[in-house]
Symmetry: C2
Subunit: 299 residues, 2 copies
Amino acid sequence: MTEKRTIGFIGLGVMGKPMARNLLEAGYTLVVHNRSRESVQELAQAGAQPAHSPAQVARESDLIITCLPDSPDVELVALGEQGLIEGVQHGDIYADMSTIAPTVAVEVAEALAEKGVQCLDAPISGGDVGAQEGTLSIMVGGDAVVFDAVKPILEVLGRTIVLCGPNGAGQTVKACNQVQVALNLIGMAEALVLGQKAGVDPTIVLDVLSGGFAQSRVMDVRGPNIIRGIFEPGFRSELHYKDLNIVRETARAYQASLPGAALAHELFGAMQAQGWGDLDHSAVTRVIELLSAAEARSH
Amino acid sequence: MTEKRTIGFIGLGVMGKPMARNLLEAGYTLVVHNRSRESVQELAQAGAQPAHSPAQVARESDLIITCLPDSPDVELVALGEQGLIEGVQHGDIYADMSTIAPTVAVEVAEALAEKGVQCLDAPISGGDVGAQEGTLSIMVGGDAVVFDAVKPILEVLGRTIVLCGPNGAGQTVKACNQVQVALNLIGMAEALVLGQKAGVDPTIVLDVLSGGFAQSRVMDVRGPNIIRGIFEPGFRSELHYKDLNIVRETARAYQASLPGAALAHELFGAMQAQGWGDLDHSAVTRVIELLSAAEARSH
């Protein structure tokens, strides 16, 4: 791409807003839309053009990026009334950076392909700090030629950008990631609770485990805070719960049987039932503590 | 310790034999015993004195080390007929390096304390290679003064040697370790199966996950082999299954409720039912594949 595209950006939340800012700062022309208008005005003051619907964003840009909460939001913005599909032109590119079901990513891509639009699913990980610093990991599904065309723009947003396969593959790898992270967290939670119940200093458990075969990145990053009872996000448990719901839908769709993911979904659901949706996902430790307290009371 | 102790060593298996060899090579006088006599003869040729019972080992040494398969073996060797308890003298030290239930470690320590023997539980991790190279991790429970006295000898066997607390604490930390490793493995298994079922190259799943927040040591070490279908141990699944049994006993004893450990126990049990006890514990991936194949057939 020798000349810079006009980029449409929809979804200016905790992740989307700093990402849009980074694109503006990199010199791209931006058309922005968001359900709540406050963020739109903020971005407009920073030089973006405000738009009043996804359709308008699509009409005024040739690369559209969305960063939305869940599958139904993406379906609505892309294919609903006043959605992208009503404003796109042949040759446009649509990159959805939300975390949604791979099956929905494929459906949206197929619907927009009929309008001559090429789609990428490009979910991210790395949290709000990664979004602010432009150091996200981006897992991409779609055509290699489209990927190559958009890559310079993704490089403004992230550091590790991997083409994982055709449409849906980016979302699939994100789902895989969320299973692994959830089970690493549950393993740590159970190890720490077992140690504590048996009277061992959790600092020692963490030191020994993180120095050996049991080490994980979540242990390195979250372990010390868990021991101090600090569960500030980080990554809010309600989002990981949503992602585990996607994991289970995806497992059903592709006939995978994932008992660990099913358990993780239940335990992360218990966090929501306790009103801990705004806590970091490592607060699953508190669910294990709760179960163990109930176990103790029953004796 | 200015003069070198005579060390008794019982249990010359995959782990114990190379450990005993390392002690001989470090210049210690060794009295050895093993159920199968072949290993005893091997060690005798290398300079160790053979003994015919744990009691005899205890009579002829002042530090006794055992490295046995499971809790009942340790109970028998320590407290049974012709056991250590029949040969120990006041002031002896007994270090059990087997992986057994923390509660049994405490029982054995209490029984031998009545004879004036001080005990350490000192389970190891690091596999047969760690045993051969003297690079094991050793998690120790017991008195700090006893720990300090024995530490130079443990340093012949391992690299990371941590006093975790009083008797039983070493076994507790080992149990915590085995929970964490099992759940990290199950997470990886489910991530890889989900990716594969949804049509994504497992190499890409592994690359993306290991480069980010989902990383774990087991992923770094075992992931590439899982993808190639290589399940040579490593760490035999039947041993990890045994350890998860200890985890569940320990959880019950200390009133911890560990749903992840319970699931891991079931899935590792399925490996045994399939005759995969001699495979590496990462073969839990094959259990997830099996469940998913059954899921696919039911559609």
